[in-house]
Amino acid sequence: MKTQESRSRRLSVILALAVLALTWAPFTPASAQDTPVSGGTFRTAISEEPDQLDPANTNQLLASNIMNNIYDRLVYIGADGLPQPWLAESWTISDDNLTITFVIREGVTFHDGTVLDAAAVKFNFDRILDPATAAPNKAFLGSLASVAAPDAVTVVFTFASPYAPFFTNLLSFGIVSPTAVESSGDTFGRNPVGSGPFMFGSWDTGSRITLVRNPDYVNYREDDLNKGPAYVDEIVYNVISEASTQSAAFEAGELDMINAPREDVARLSETEGISIVSLETSSNINFIEFAANEPFNNEAFRKAVSYAIDRESIAEIAYLGNATPNQCPIPIANAAYDAELCAQYGSTYDLDLARQALADGGFVDSDGDGIVEFNGENVSVTLWSYAPYPVQSKTIQLVQADLNQIGLAVEVQTVEFGAMQPMLESGEIGFDYMRWTYSDQSILSALFKSPGWTGQTSDPELDRLIEASDTTVDPEARVEASRQVMRYILEHAIIVPVVSDWVQSAVRDNVRDYHWDALNTERLVDVWIAS
């Protein structure tokens, strides 16, 4: 039901674009507006330079956004949450869930002219598995033990134990050209060769990366509009670290698309010639997490915090309305997301219930100073988040106001990204507002499986539930298993989910068919520029 919604939303975005195009360019023949035309350059900005463009050597989101245009993958995930054929024509899963056999499409070539066959696919995954590569994304292959290519079109993946996240995680593994890897060696990450709709053009260190159209491209994805070569001649990614400078460049007409700064969405959406495209079913989750020390390891304390979170108000004020309140400990785009279940086991904003939870847990204000005590001492805590992001800082200030109302003495503090990890692991950070982006249910194991990503979680029952979710390969049964995990997390307030913020782009009106797929990846193969 939810996936239905996301598809119709995407469609409505595209329709809205078409309508806008008609209303704002009334003197151009409508037919010229509706039919994609080739040519032009799609200019956009990235906030920093990616480390490299080799899927075996980077795990940056930023890099994968660019790599998505250069490399195709075995499968993609459709709006229904299920894997769909791409470079792999079809696949079969063994009864014991330990082998997956892919049939690779014939006739696909890399940008360097070499053939993308079963051997090439095997080369790719062997490279990731090789400890010498030290691939940062290796964990995404889970229990994958070996890969075999018995003939030119067959690839057999053998697992040590069933590994359910595999299909979604293939998102991280674009297929690279083995010939190019061997000839480029260590510099492959800066001279990437794949089989995708765009070929690597140039990399002007620090300033820009340019991709050029692959004229021979055939698009096998069902969910894209364009089945042939991309329309735009070039994609230019300009490195502009400062968001306000990105906005200025966009407004000066030097960029066709930027990630819309939340603070400016309302104004930009009313500006002529510019539209805001929003993806509300986003794969991120913002939540409050807790350390394993007093009082944060006290369930009553966490429950109280969970009742004191005014999600609507946070979405409205801190995110200026560009986020969806989320009670689930999983991103909204995820197949296991279930608003009803989370409303039932999670908590809704209610300061009286929050006070009640504190009182039940022995947090009482007996000396009448307005601050509750625990074991005879005033409860004085610090809520952290990372800097320098205004939205994080605003959210913790809003939460602070509510927590102070229920009798907790709360300070807020932001800390530079780099310094945060050691503080989380040492437990120095008691509770904090965190954001993760993740496409698969296995976000649950990444975050909470002992010892947890902060090293602060250890709960055998939770581990057991997560294990069940990760090894259940059948998609529907897996969703059910993941929901058991979510229910447990909410019942014990292991974390407090807050919102999923929207993915938003500001695009010029002559840019058409700009959209994302179900896993929030940009599909620039569809984009065309109207005259």
């Binding site: 603070e263 801190a318 800097a387 913790i396 809003l398 530079e416 310094a419």
Partner: protein, 300 residues
């Protein structure tokens, strides 16, 4: 000396004298003959008054969320408008004046203490003490200041106090150099020789003999370092290393408002203008002080 340049730029300060022999009134009269000083005086006075009487002037608590509708443009009730959490910007700016003045004061104070100590010791004892202390100063000068500040804040943790500390720790070498070169000119004076003959202690000689004679350049440099400190603190806020929310430090207000430059420009222009005027005022005051205390410029 390896890095002689700063000495020469500031050597003019070595000539700055005569602070002690003029009475405060004649000094002030001479100072405020400068138009720049008059302008600076008015702004600084307003700033100090705002800082002292902040609770009386500010209509709202600076961190009172939802005092008004978020992002209200300046109007009669909210003189400077409200920010995105509905806080009154006027109240935040008034309280921010306190913090800004405080930042400048503390940074300069720490710089003076470290810089003057190092400069005094180096200049007074000379020889190996001088060589070692000055090489150390050279290292600090050559070390990129922002990297040093980043490292200090990362080590001590973020927050206003640590940011202040970081700025001070990376900018005291200027004081050390100025004081040292002033001390060198004083050291050979007859007064000093007399003191040595009479067997006065080193501490006494430095405190009584040397320090008063190098006071004027210290004062001038301090008045010029004050505005620089305010700007550097704002720059640290730009990186998220300075004041913590909800502290209404002006640099933090400026940085937080960066994406509102088109939709709510007052949010960025008000703190921007306030920092500009404050820094300008102190720079002008510093320049006027220097002109007043420089004997070459006085007798004409």
């Amino acid at each position: 000396m390896i890095i002689a340049a700063p000495d020469r730029v500031l050597s003019g300060l070595g000539r700055v004298r005569g602070f002690t022999d003029a009475s405060a009134v004649t000094f002030a009269r001479r100072l405020f003959r400068y138009r720049q000083a008059q302008f600076a005086g008015v702004i600084i006075l307003v700033l100090i008054l705002a800082a002292i009487f902040a609770p009386l002037i500010a209509p709202y608590a600076p961190d009172a969320v939802r005092a008004g509708k978020p992002l209200t443009a300046p109007n009669r009730e909210f003189l400077f408008g409200t920010d995105d959490l509905g806080r009154d910007m006027f109240s935040r700016m008034i309280y921010g004046a306190r913090i800004t003045l405080w930042i400048g004061l503390i940074i300069v104070a720490v710089e003076v203490v470290i810089g003057v100590t190092v400069g005094l010791l180096a200049g007074y004892f000379g020889g190996w003490t001088d060589a070692i202390l000055m090489r150390f100063t050279d290292v600090m000068l050559a070390f990129p200041g922002i990297m040093l500040a980043l490292a200090i804040v990362a080590t001590l943790g973020p927050g206003l106090t640590n940011a202040i500390f970081a700025v001070a720790l990376s900018s005291w070498p200027l004081f050390a150099r100025v004081v040292r070169s002033s001390v060198l000119t004083v050291r050979e004076s007859e007064y000093m020789t007399a003191g040595q003959v009479l067997g006065a202690s080193h501490l006494h000689m430095m405190w009584r003999g040397v320090l008063p004679n190098v006071l004027a350049p210290i004062i001038v440099l301090a008045s010029l370092e004050f505005p620089a400190a305010v700007l550097v603190a704002a720059a640290l806020s730009f990186l998220g290393l300075g004041a913590q929310p909800p502290t209404p430090e002006w640099g933090a207000l400026l940085t937080d408002a960066r994406n509102y430059i088109r939709s709510a420009p007052y949010l960025i222009n008000i703190p921007g203008l306030a920092i500009f005027l404050t820094v300008l005022a102190f720079n002008l005051l510093g320049n006027a002080l220097r002109d007043t205390l420089d004997p070459r410029l006085r007798h004409r």
